[in-house]
Amino acid sequence: MKYETQRVAYPFFAVAMALFALQIIFGIMAATVYIMPEFLAEAMPFHIMRMSHTNLLVVWLLIGFMGCTYYLMPEEAEQEIHSPMIAYVQLAIFAVAGAGALVSYQLGIHEGREFLEQPLWSKILITVSFLMFLYNTSLTLMKGRKTAINLVLMLGLWLAAVFWLFAFFNPSNLAVDKLYWWWVVHLWVEGVWELIMASLLAYLLIKMTGVDREIIEKWLYVIIGLALFSGLLGTGHHYYWIGAPGYWQPLSSIFSTLEVLPFFAMVMFAFFMFWKGRRNHPNKSAMLWTLGSATLAFFGAGVWGFMHTLSFINYYTHGTQVTAAHGHLAFFGAYVMMILAVITYAMPQLRRVQPYNQILNMWSFWLMSSAMCFMTFTLTFAGVVQTHLQRVMGMNYMAVQEQLQLFYVMRLGSGVLVAIAAIVFFVAVFGPAKEQASASSVAAQ
């Protein structure tokens, strides 16, 4: 840690991980309802668990992105953070907005559009906090060195803020509502968030492989170019069946198929740089999360996305468990793992110790990744069976769901494993630093 203000990242990581833990708890509760339908039916109906689960994910990922930005910006800009005080205040505001929304959900107070359930006051606080964050980090960037990494990162964050404004626009025509709702949801996760992810990936690879910045930053521009060239028109794969014109079907079938490319490029990029790199970085577990993130993002977002993106396939699979399968692995690979990679990389430096608890952290990696993959497989099988019974044979929805019970049991089991893996991760990262890096790897550093 070269710059004192990188410490600002620490509380962001801590809050993000606390909310990650809560997200998993709500997820397990919701998965339990699939198996025991009466579970908490009166105290906390399914819709409250579900909005808590999805909202916590989005809020903690955003706080995680902020922490990552505060951590890498001083090194990239060669400049201390403009104001640590603003950072702490905006974290507090964001945490109040997120936690406040979560508490209000339990009281049945919420807005009604999926993922945008935050009450208006919470949305406004989120906006205020995010603008303070952008002000603070942009000022740091303007005073300092501009690299492809910090420019692309800030571009992604600014565009995320711009598209967020569509969350305040709720037309009374349901079709038009959906049209612009995707301007937040799709343009975030299949658009500008990919800029954030790719720049974090590039940062980690520069630090850990020692490959030339020139080469890595060129890859970065190629990757984010592929992401936006495909992802913008790819938005239309959500416009097939909501009252939009028919031309979206051929157009977005093609462009959203191309959405695989940036993820393919990212996984190639990560492994090429890893093999090419001369540096033998002692933080092996951070490297593992980095490569794992690129890999599972490719499968979750790329392959699983492609699986049901062609309009003539999506006609049958749209709105089945296939979508749930894709959603889980895509978010996990692309965003959850990338933030866990940065945390794993940054924490030893924030705590001013050598990389520690590496084995424990790697256990967490393998357990969490394989549990998430297994969850994705079970939901995929559930989705395929559901598609056939309901969409091809026309069986009644509830009757079909009874046929999927076994898959839901296995999904709950994999969710419990994810929870265990998360606990192992928290202990490895925040717990006592038990082990030093081996002497050889320290020497290589």
């Binding site: 699939y34 038009v176 080469i215 028109l233 909501i242 014109p245 028919g246």
Partner: protein, 150 residues
């Protein structure tokens, strides 16, 4: 790639290309907006009651169990075509009565069955909600869903 493409060339392609695709996407969105309000949805039938029904739909977060036009939580049946499923296109009165009675009858208390809470909707809210679902059913969705099961 190292010789044929420099970093600044890659950067320029990114900015230029992204701007181009964004403008194209924005133009198609504008056309789609126009198409929705003039062709695929019933703008004249978008009455105050339909709008109120959408608010009822949102206030009770129906989307976090059900799906509508395939988007939502997949925990409970698709409701974009529930009007068709209840035979509303043949007998509107019976469909309206049937949907309202179903919502009022919740929770059904059938062991082992997923539980829909009772949201204590009054007569006016129920009628508005049914108007909203009926209006949604009339959207031209390019033939989706494939079967009435939703």
């Amino acid at each position: 790639m190292s010789e044929v493409l420099t970093r600044s060339a890659a950067r320029n392609i990114f900015y230029g290309g992204s701007l181009f695709f964004f403008l194209l996407f924005a133009a198609l969105t504008a056309h789609t907006h126009w198409y929705m309000v003039t062709v695929s949805t019933d703008s004249e039938g978008l009455t105050e009651s339909v709008k109120r029904g959408k608010h009822v739909w949102e206030e009770n977060s129906c989307i976090n169990c059900h799906s509508i036009l395939g988007e939502g939580a997949y925990f409970a049946p698709e409701l974009g075509n529930v009007w068709t499923r209840y035979g509303g296109r043949e007998n509107a009165e019976a469909a309206r009565a049937g949907i309202k009675a179903w919502i009022r009858a919740q929770p059904l208390n059938i062991p082992g069955r997923r539980v829909m809470p009772n949201f204590n909707l009054d007569e006016e809210e129920l009628d508005a909600l049914v108007d909203f679902l009926k209006w949604t059913d009339s959207i031209d969705t390019q033939g989706w869903p494939p079967t009435p099961a939703g």
